[in-house]
């Protein structure tokens, strides 16, 4: 089949969307990570531990499928290695992302002794720097996974321990969160100083804040204030946009997320558990991004993928602040390529603006 003739390049489309100008059709943010490196013949681990390969794979895959990608680099377990913990790279047939093998915080005592690492050399940060260097020499936006302080705190001490401290030792949980927030602010400050604030859009995801894990009240006390402080710092440094990946079932947290500054406009990455219309209600001035269920992209038929995409497009196009189609979370690394092509076909059928 033939796709309709595009009136804008992916880069023009993205730039126009971020500047609140009209665009020809709905863009697709692919949320590719391991999918991209596998797509060009590398391994999933290469996405994480080889910024050169990652950079190339993301660009090539975006070109191949005509994605409108913010080139995304990072992983959700970020924060453990940087404070002295240990991670393992994904290996074997079924791993998707780095996993924490040793948490740097095992006791209250460890929390009291916690110090900020030297940013430039800590854990994964040299990989961020290399990825940013490559992107600064190239065109287009990119996004680095700074991640929210709450998910970072869970990465320091394990989510189970964080849950215990939330109820039994809230002062310890707050101390941990404060240190993690300072760390992330220092990291963004370093990146802003070194690379400027034009091309990189900080990515702040929070899977641990899901209401499957914590209550909205816990979110309000332990997650929101720290994310808010981080976002305020990011915007004060001169970044115009933040991508907030509100991961998982967070319906009850949305009223709180809506009090956090996101930029002008911010980009709200909506998971499949939240209706796009809910996101639009709370973020009328921001770009809404989402939310095809990744499990359907992975395990569904092309017809199911097409139908889910159609539903997202028809809901999302009403977003007053703009809309990008995207998976609700990471594009499955081993998704059938035909299902990805089907997403683009559905955009061609339902995604054009008149």
């Amino acid at each position: 089949m033939l796709f309709k003739e595009e009136r804008m390049s992916s880069e023009q489309r993205l730039s126009s969307l971020l500047n609140r100008r009209a665009i020809d059709r709905i863009p697709f943010f692919s949320f590719s990570q391991g999918f991209a490196t596998l797509n060009v013949g590398y391994s999933i681990a290469d996405y994480y531990n080889n910024p050169q390969k990652s950079f190339y794979a993301l660009k090539a895959t975006a070109d191949q499928y005509n994605f409108a990608d913010f080139s995304l680099f990072g992983y959700a377990s970020f924060g453990a290695w940087e404070f002295g913990g240990k991670i393992s790279w994904p290996e074997g047939e079924y791993s998707q992302a780095p996993a924490i093998k040793h948490f740097p915080i095992e006791s209250e005592d460890d929390v009291h002794k916690l110090k900020l690492p030297e940013i430039e050399h800590a854990g994964f940060i040299p990989y961020f720097i290399r990825f940013a260097e490559l992107h600064e020499l190239s065109s287009g936006y990119y996004t680095l996974g700074i991640e929210a302080p709450f998910v970072g705190a869970g990465n320091l001490c394990s989510v189970t321990r964080l849950c215990r401290w939330i109820l039994k030792k809230p002062d310890i949980a707050h101390k941990l969160l404060a240190v993690m927030t300072d760390f992330k602010i220092e990291l963004v400050r370093y990146l802003a100083k070194r690379f400027g604030t034009t091309k990189m859009i900080p990515w702040v995801g929070d899977a641990t804040a899901s209401n499957v894990i914590v209550s909205p009240e816990m979110f309000a006390e332990f997650a929101m204030p720290y994310t808010k402080k981080l976002h305020e710092s990011i915007l004060n440094l001169g970044y115009r946009h933040i991508i907030a990946h509100i991961c998982g079932e967070q319906n009850k947290n949305y009223p709180y997320w809506a009090t956090i500054p996101m930029g002008d406009p911010g980009i709200i990455s909506v998971s499949q558990e939240v209706d796009l219309e809910t996101a639009m209600k709370y973020f009328p001035n921001d770009i809404i991004m989402g939310n095809i269920p990744p499990s359907i992209i992975q395990a569904g038929t092309a017809e199911q993928v097409y139908e889910q995409t159609r539903i997202c497009l028809q809901k999302g196009r009403k977003a007053p602040g703009g809309f990008m189609l995207a998976p609700g979370c990471e594009l499955p690394a081993k998704a059938p390529p035909y299902n990805i092509w089907t997403i683009m076909r559905a955009i061609n059928d339902f995604g054009w603006y008149s």
Binding site: Q96, T160, I213, V214
Partner: protein, 220 residues
Amino acid sequence: MNCEQEKEEITSGLAEAVLNMDEKRVVELCKKVLEKGIDVYTAITSGLTEGMTISGERYNKGQYFVPQLILCSDALYTGLDILTPHLKTQRNAVKRKLIIGVVEGDVHDIGKNLVKVMFTAAGWEVYDLGCDVKLERFGEEQRKIKADIVGLSALMTTSMLAIPKAIDILRRSEPAPAIIVGGAPLSDQIAKQYRADGYAKNAVVATRVAEKILKNKVSQ
């Protein structure tokens, strides 16, 4: 207070202590159970595990969340550690068996741990294989343990792909168990596609799903 009343008060106190995440109170009451010669099986099933069951119901209603479930389970296990050694063995003999694990490639184990708690509270004998479990190991353990149910968990879309392979291995095991699956990327539809016997949306409903499968098996 007569003996029956006191027994009832201690037992319901245990349920309440688990529900209130009060480990100290659990220890006090478990000691009383032993001192007063209260039937340990009753203290466990009508006290400790009843408290955990109610906390699970509260989770389902959105009144409790994972932090509360974790602290309730801490209280449950504290009580079980004290009382289980005093349990008469013939009561152990009728327990149903569950093997549980997070499949190869995945280290996310909070959900799996909560499933373990709920099955323990429901009186099952639980064999926890941990996380990142090699698929062949599920078959090996099944041949040794002969579990009624095997629970497989995955939280990533890549590790989800290990589930149908683990199911194939378990289907070839002798005796073949019933299989339930759970974890964020899975759904009822995908569970059926992978030929699992059941899908548990969360830890709290997992025991109900397992009981239903076994009941259907018996009636067939």
